[in-house]
């Protein structure tokens, strides 16, 4: 029986091991873990390691008979074999060190991985969390995609017209703010995508971050038949995001035929069923 994380490779009797880091979450690995990867690739594989588009790590060319042993060494270092076949993929997260410094999602992602990492599903299921609307973790082409949003408050009477929120490389990216020597900041809420970058930059608190919320998208997909996800819920509170993800996953499990991806379920029964 093929275990999670062991996939067919090229060459007879050779397999590929796919693992993800669990210390503390997928997108992050420690230097000790890197050394273990190097060691395992040298000892059991062909001295190379491949990183996948979803932040998993693969060690190709492992002798089938040595797989268990190799995986044991990897697990000792805090890796988990998985992310293949009909399983939830580990949740994909954007960078903890993003210089835009938007909403952190790493903790939520850890929690989801605890619960759903490599759980059996009707078909492959991808979950992605992005800290802002720029969606670096590809939340809009995943089965379930979460995007953090920040509501800002703009108080033009406090503005010193320094122009940072507009001109700084880390300021507004979508022209939702204007400011000039004569006129204090003006905010076009239609253009605003709620990234909150400006509130990190304004030196005098003329723009401030208010509450955070999370938009939830479902039914996107990559691969052979790529499709854009659809917006299911807007501005869900932090406390309720994980509940919502739970609910969507349970609904999917209940409604899907074997082998059916979430987008296909949504096409068949309508997105309202997931509301």
């Amino acid at each position: 029986m093929i275990k999670a994380g062991i996939i067919r490779g090229e060459g007879k009797g050779k397999v590929v091991i796919r693992v993800r880091s669990t210390q503390p979450y997928t997108a992050e690995i420690t230097s000790e873990q890197l050394r273990v990867l190097a060691e395992v690739a040298r000892k059991y594989g062909s001295r190379v390691v491949h990183t996948t588009p979803r932040q998993a790590i693969e060690i190709p060319d492992v002798e089938e008979s040595l797989v268990e042993e190799a995986i044991r060494e990897l697990e000792k270092a805090g890796f988990k074999a998985g992310a293949s076949g009909e399983l939830t993929r580990h949740t994909f997260a954007c960078s903890r060190w993003c210089l835009y410094n938007s909403t952190p999602v790493a903790e939520m992602v850890e929690e989801i991985n605890e619960k759903y990492g490599d759980v059996e599903m009707p078909a492959k299921l991808t979950i992605s969390f992005s800290g802002c609307d720029f969606s670096c973790a590809r939340s809009r082409t995943s089965d379930i995609g979460v995007i953090a949003k920040t509501r800002i408050k703009v108080e033009p009477d406090r503005c010193i017209k320094c122009g940072l929120c507009v001109n700084d490389p880390l300021g507004c990216q979508v022209d939702a703010l204007t400011v000039s020597k004569e006129k204090p900041v003006e905010w076009d809420s239609e253009k605003c995508v709620g990234c909150g970058f400006c509130s990190n930059i304004c030196p005098v608190g003329s723009i401030t971050a208010q509450e955070k919320g999370f938009d939830i998208y479902i039914a996107g997909g990559g691969g052979m038949f790529p499709r854009e996800a659809r917006l299911l819920k807007e501005f869900v509170s932090e406390e309720r995001v994980l509940e919502e993800v739970d609910r969507i996953v349970e609904k999917y499990r209940a409604l899907a035929k074997p082998g059916e991806r979430l987008f296909s379920v949504v096409e068949r029964v309508g997105i309202e069923e997931f509301d």
Binding site: S31, H50, T51, Q55, S135, R138, T141
Partner: protein, 296 residues
């Protein structure tokens, strides 16, 4: 603050090829993130390179490494004063800072040791990486190679996607009764039918050759392999899917196509907002489709 950091460090790091201000992200005044990647692909690291990244992260950073969605190994929290030795050590191990800003980003290939592979992409990808890697362009520009239509490297959501496909040859008389191997292997419903004679619906078939691999009788064979080239996709704040530009291209035609698309993009891209130029897909949309874009 960020600006100041760039100005201070850049002249010194400029001696290392390919380092642009954004490859080294200035986070605080003293702390930078280095986006390291292997050449020619950012997704294959040797054991020695992993150890080097580990060493640099420990010596100059916090011992942590971030796996980026486009396969960089990012070393965060490096002290600014230690940037130069860190970069030099990485460079000596074949790792460069790169893969950010408005240029051709890391060339991306799927795992072509995968059994689904129709046509290998590593060599062609390396040539493209050599030719176009880090080329400055109006906005960021992503190129992905997938060795089969499953598209694990997400070729439909990048500026140029190159997908390995097969041309099949059918010999119906070799097909035996009672066999359904090809049907079971086919990932697309209704692409292949055997009732009343072996047939492939060319509208539905994605040309993945799984049927040919499953057929032991030689009734379905791979006649030739090549690439489909799709252009103008993106992900992020908005999602666009590439439009088919070439339906069956040979290696040199793929390179020609990339060259042409990049030239048109340079010529036609306009400012989208104060900070950025349009992405390729946005230019194509504004102009009214790929054909119009290519002939503008």
């Amino acid at each position: 603050m960020a600006e100041e950091g760039f100005k201070l460090e850049l002249p010194k790091v400029g001696i290392i090829k390919g380092v642009k201000p954004k490859d080294i992200e200035v986070v605080g005044e003293k702390i930078v993130n280095i986006r390291a990647r292997a050449k020619p692909y950012s997704n294959i690291y040797t054991a020695e390179q992993l150890e080097k990244v580990a060493e640099v992260a420990e010596k100059y950073g916090s011992g942590k490494v971030h796996l980026s969605p486009r396969h960089n190994l990012e070393i965060p929290e490096v002290r600014n004063s230690m940037l130069m030795p860190a970069l030099q050590e990485l460079f000596a191990a074949g790792l460069q800072a790169g893969g950010s800003g408005t240029s051709v980003r890391n060339i991306f290939t799927c795992a072509d040791y995968c059994p689904n592979k129709v046509r290998g992409v590593r060599e062609l990808g390396a040539i493209v990486s050599e030719l176009y890697g880090d080329l400055p362009l109006p906005n960021k520009f992503t190129i992905s190679f997938a060795a089969c239509p499953s598209g694990c490297s997400r070729p439909w959501n990048v500026d140029i996607g190159i997908i390995g496909i097969a041309e099949l040859a059918l010999e119906e008389e070799k097909c035996v009764d009672g066999c359904t191997a090809c049907l079971e292997a086919c990932p697309v419903e209704g692409a292949i039918s055997i009732e009343g004679g072996l047939k492939i619906d060319s509208e539905r078939c994605v040309r993945c050759a799984r049927c040919a691999r499953a057929c032991t009788e030689g009734a379905i064979k791979v006649k030739d392999t090549g690439f489909k080239v799709v252009v103008g996709g993106k992900e992020g704040r908005t999602v666009l899917f590439g439009e088919e530009y070439l339906s069956f291209a040979k290696d040199y035609e793929v390179i020609e196509a990339i060259d042409k698309v990049i030239r048109q993009y340079k010529k036609l891209a306009q400012k989208r907002d104060r900070k950025k130029y349009e992405r390729l897909g946005e230019v194509i949309q504004r102009i009214g489709g790929l054909e119009a874009f290519m002939s503008s």
